[in-house]
């Protein structure tokens, strides 16, 4: 899906979990980038029809990357920098996905 151009010599690896699966990323990656690199593109289902959605803009505009981080809903995966040990889940259903 996505690959890294080069191993980042200067950046420390960061491990977190997505849907229970361990993912390895690098310091400074956003959740959306780290997940895309790990092959996980679809991050939520829409509240209206339940259709799967993946990050679209990667800059905080579209809100199609909303995930649950450590139990907190509505986190923009493209604007959230990975931290070790984060527990990330896909966001499903209409619960609270409103501004």
């Amino acid at each position: 899906m996505f690959r890294r151009l080069e191993e980042d010599a200067g950046r420390a690896p960061v491990r977190f979990r997505f849907e229970g699966r361990e993912i390895e990323a690098y310091e400074g990656d956003t959740l959306a980038a780290a997940l895309a690199a790990a092959g996980a593109l679809s991050l939520r289902d829409t509240p209206v029809s339940g259709a799967p959605r993946a990050p679209y803009c990667m800059m905080g505009v579209c809100f199609d990357c909303l995930v649950e981080v450590d139990g907190r809903k509505n986190c923009q995966a493209c604007m959230t920098v990975v931290e070790p040990g984060m527990e990330v889940r896909r966001q499903t259903g209409g619960d609270g996905a409103e501004a």
Binding site: R3, L5, Y26, T30, Y56, V61, C62, R72, Q76
Partner: protein, 469 residues
């Protein structure tokens, strides 16, 4: 109420960085806020980390990207309170700026606010654009800059605009040539754009760069389909291909990832929130705030520089940032009128020169009608899943503008607050009513601009009650 700063600048892209440096030099106290963790804005994203540690990414991104390093270094060296990771979620008409940072919410007050929040990509509502496996061209570039990621497999880039060709060529340089570039510029546009060529030659560097990009693609053997229309992303739960018409024929290219682009439009969230006057710019086909010669808005104490005030590109954004600061410093009493004019003159001249290419680009890359007026069954509001047809239906029932459509259909009520559907909904209603977007208007924008946690809201209440600030 005393102010914390003379000037609060929102956005650390080229406009905000250049503005901050000059404002500090002129003796103003400056806060520079940006929601990103690193300075550079969209164009110079991650400029401080790409380079020594990521030579391949740096090479792919090219020399224009390197220009950002000087700007960022100058800001770092200046007396500026730089607040990265600060998401501005409200600005009041009294110039209090509220932002979330490190899990808490804070407020600062300024004597003047400079909005330098830049642009966002124009949404490209074509059939299938909500499928996983469809992103924007800018999104791919962001992943390349911040994480050194390139998409694997067959990548198809579709639409129009300088960024489309730039990213295609950056992917070639990164050793990941796209499977195809599908360009939606009708042939007749080239002829139309020729009228603006003499003026554009004043900023000939841009034209030369365009030619260079095309050559890179040709050399790498990337197929470029020109004059395409009727784009449609195919697939089930994932994108598998892009269908389009070209020269009267139906075509289809296989794709693992489709990246769409139709230029960029100003990010209006903060100027709308503040109730500044906006106009619809026909040339750029988007709304922008009304600005005077010094980039001041209709609201006293608020200015806008860079792409947030109208699309001019990164170099123009820098110059505009400096001109705006001269105007602000004069308003705040730090520069006399003759000093202001003299200080601003070189930047203003450079700005004019740089903007000379715009009419050419705007004509050539004007978004096609299928994107401004999508077919009935295309979703325009991704959040609430409202189709173009539903918006047209509402207009036919007498809905006079986007805010009424919002209460009829819930479009624009989801988490993105209409950032994505706003431009399209205004276009569709205007078209249905035989009017223009300027007349039907745009969504009213209210705080918070980004969702806040309950904890942040609670903490804010306590602050206000205890009379903090």
């Amino acid at each position: 109420m005393t102010a914390d700063y003379d000037l609060a600048i929102i956005g650390a892209g080229p406009a905000g960085l250049a503005a901050a440096g000059l404002a500090a030099e002129l003796g103003l106290t400056v806060a520079l806020l940006d929601e990103q963790e690193r300075p550079g804005g969209q164009i110079y994203r991650a400029i401080e980390t790409v380079g020594a540690s990521r030579p391949l990414a740096a090479k792919a991104l090219g020399p224009d990207y390197e220009r950002g390093r000087g700007l960022v270094d100058a800001m770092r060296a200046a007396r500026v309170d730089y607040l990265p990771g600060a998401v501005v979620w409200n600005v009041s008409r009294e110039l209090a700026v509220n932002f979330s940072r490190q899990g808490g919410s804070r407020e600062i007050r300024a004597r003047h606010v400079l909005v330098a929040t830049g642009a966002m990509e124009r949404p490209v509502p074509v059939p299938g654009w909500t499928r996983p496996g469809v992103m924007t061209v800018g999104a791919l570039q962001i992943m390349l800059k911040t994480s050194g990621l390139v998409a694997d497999g067959r990548v198809v880039l579709a639409g129009s605009g300088p960024l489309l060709l730039l990213l295609a060529s950056q992917y070639v340089e990164a050793g990941a040539p796209p499977a195809a570039v599908v360009e939606t510029v009708p042939r007749a546009r080239y002829v139309e754009a020729l009228a603006h060529l003499p003026k554009a030659l004043r900023a000939a560097g841009y034209l030369a760069k365009g030619v260079r990009l095309m050559r890179t693609l040709a050399r790498a053997g990337v197929p470029v389909y020109r004059g395409a229309s009727d784009l449609s992303v195919e697939g089930g739960e994932r994108a598998t291909g892009l269908a389009f018409r070209q020269g009267g024929r139906e075509r289809r290219v296989e794709a693992d990832l489709v990246a769409l682009h139709q230029g960029v439009v100003p990010n209006q969230q903060i100027t709308r929130l503040l109730g500044c006057n906006h106009v619809f710019d026909d040339g750029q086909r988007c709304f922008r705030p009304v600005l005077d010669d010094w980039f001041a808005t209709s609201l006293d104490g608020v200015s806008v520089a860079g792409d947030g005030g109208g699309i001019g590109g990164a170099v123009a954004a820098e110059h505009a940032g400096r001109v705006a600061v001269c105007g602000i410093a004069h308003r705040l009493g730090a520069l006399s009128e003759p000093e202001r004019d003299a200080r601003a003159a070189p930047s203003r001249a450079a700005l004019d020169r740089d903007l000379a290419v715009r009419p050419f680009l705007e004509t050539l890359y004007r978004p096609p009608r299928e994107v401004l007026e999508p077919a009935d069954d295309v979703l325009v509001c991704r959040c609430e899943e409202v189709t173009a047809g539903a918006v047209r239906g509402a207009a036919a029932l007498g809905c006079p503008g986007p805010n009424q459509a919002k209460s009829f259909l819930r479009c624009g009520m989801g988490p993105c607050q209409g950032r994505v559907c706003g431009p399209v909904v205004s276009e569709i209603i205007a078209d249905a009513l035989g009017s223009d977007p300027g007349a039907v208007g745009y969504y009213r924008i209210r705080p918070p601009l980004k969702p806040l946690t309950l904890g942040e809201l609670a903490a804010l209440d306590t602050d206000t009650e205890s009379g903090a600030a």
